[in-house]
């Protein structure tokens, strides 16, 4: 395409798109205002959801790639960016613990660790590789207009619901017997913090070696129109820390998704309110069993909207259809695996991995390790069935 025609497209499109972006911005701000007045509890999840969605769209930060790219293309850029995010979020959460009213042992995402965490991690790792994005990434892609990820979302709803149902038997079997390990409780605050930060630095150096790159801090350099991964890691860590401060709990997504699924199932006459998951869900008890009042549902929606605004504003929004029908199956299967896995492990790459590890909970680390075999298997499926499907 010649430069003249290209310029014409951009000039023409910029007028139309900025109108759409402005309209969306007005609606989004109106939504924030209404929540502030009528449902204050959901205001912060909504505002931070917009921020996370915007940053992830602008930077293309991807938690799935942090694991699968090691196997598939021997690239560790996003692995290193994730390690930076973990390092800074750990510092942020600990700083809040010592300088605010928050007690990380209570407010953090600290859950029992056991076989369910491992199984959940493997399933989740497989699902995110096959579906091409994890839960957070899928929401951001949905905002940009990727049709495939709407199918992933459907899979997530089904998988979460199935997982929440099975927890009725899985909880007495393993979860109830499993121990909850909050590292500062076992090791003391300073040793726990020093060991965790030390391990993260060592992993960064390992990732540099594994890739064989000489550009150790390339992830912080601006290379194109896109925000560098390293800078996004800083913003996400800052956002998660402020979210913990204002909302009282760290960033999490799948609780919101499971509650959407519970609401839908309830509409179809399934008595989900009798399930252990929905009974034990600490937020649901406060809101009298109304599924849609779970504040994290607003975070889910806001991440999509934040990404959509970023896409429209920067002329990157487009309805994108998958190349072959196989992608829809990959999205559905991947979504179900991730939904189910996140119920077993009690969180996704955000709730269990980023917020779990940063809360110095052992379950986050076990989940992270379990993601590797899952991502490896998913990579095999990707090469066998999807790379050749053109």
């Amino acid at each position: 395409m010649s430069e003249v025609t290209q310029k014409q497209i951009q000039e023409k499109s910029s007028e139309q798109i900025n109108l759409r972006a402005s309209l969306l911005l007005i609606l989004v701000l109106l939504g924030a205002g209404l929540l502030f007045i009528y449902r204050r509890g959901a205001f912060y999840p909504y505002v931070f959801g917009l921020f996370f969605g915007y940053i992830m769209q602008r930077s293309r930060f991807c938690f799935a790639a942090a694991f699968r790219d090691i196997f598939l293309i021997r690239n560790t850029m996003l692995t290193r960016a994730l390690l930076v995010a973990l390092f800074l979020t750990t510092l942020g959460f600990s700083a809040l613990h010592f300088s605010s009213h928050l007690d990380l042992a209570v407010a953090g995402r600290i859950y029992p660790v056991g076989l369910h965490t491992v199984l959940g991690g493997v399933l989740f790792g497989f699902g995110m590789t096959v579906a091409g994005a994890c839960v957070s990434g899928s929401l951001v892609r949905m905002g940009e207009g990727n049709v495939m990820q709407y199918v992933t979302f459907l899979g997530l709803l089904c998988g979460s619901l199935l997982g929440a149902w099975h927890l009725n038997w899985i909880v007495p079997l393993t979860v109830a017997k499993a121990t909850t390990v909050f590292l500062p409780e076992q090791l003391g605050w300073m040793p726990a913090l020093a060991i965790q930060l030390g391990i993260l630095v060592l992993l960064y150096l390992w990732a540099v070696r594994a890739e064989g790159t000489k550009q150790i801090f390339f992830i912080f350099q601006k290379n194109s129109a896109v925000m560098p991964y390293g800078r996004a890691a800083v913003y996400l860590a800052l956002g998660n820390t402020l979210f913990l401060l204002f909302y009282g709990r760290p960033w999490g997504i799948t609780t919101g998704i499971t509650n959407i699924a519970g609401w839908a199932a309830n509409k179809f006459g399934v008595s989900v309110h009798k399930w252990l998951y929905f009974q034990e869900n600490y937020r649901l008890a406060d809101t009298g069993g109304a599924f849609l009042s779970q504040p994290l549902i607003f975070l889910v929606l806001a991440m999509l909207l934040g990404s959509m605004f970023a896409g429209l504003y920067h002329h990157e929004f487009r309805w994108r259809f998958p190349r072959t029908r196989r992608y829809y199956w990959a999205a559905l299967v991947g979504g179900i695996c991730m939904g189910y896995g996140s119920r077993l492990a009690m969180g996704c790459n955000i709730g269990a991995l980023l917020s779990g590890i940063s809360s110095l909970s052992l379950h986050g680390w076990v989940f992270a390790i379990a993601l590797f075999p899952g991502a490896y298997l998913g990579g095999k499926v990707l090469i066998r069935y999807l790379l050749t499907a053109n």
Partner: protein, 74 residues
């Protein structure tokens, strides 16, 4: 020689993998011209080939949500 890869509608990281397979076959100074509508690929493809292979890369947005990436083998 220029080789075109049409990766419209392909999910991540398949565009990178296809470009990598092609570039390994090519001779120095041959170029791969990859067209993608995946926003992640528009960043990750050039990151990958610049840092790992030291191949010069260029990315240009040619339409709303569509990018053309030129990678030159060295």
């Amino acid at each position: 020689m220029d080789y075109k890869i049409d990766a419209i509608g392909e999910m991540c990281p398949l565009p990178i993998m296809r470009a990598e397979i092609k570039l390994l076959e090519l001779k120095p100074y041959d170029r791969v011209i990859l067209k993608t509508d995946h926003s992640c690929s528009s960043a990750s493809v050039i990151n990958h080939f610049q840092t790992k292979y030291d191949y010069p890369c260029q990315v240009q947005q040619i339409d709303e949500g569509i990018w053309e990436i030129i990678i030159e083998k060295r």
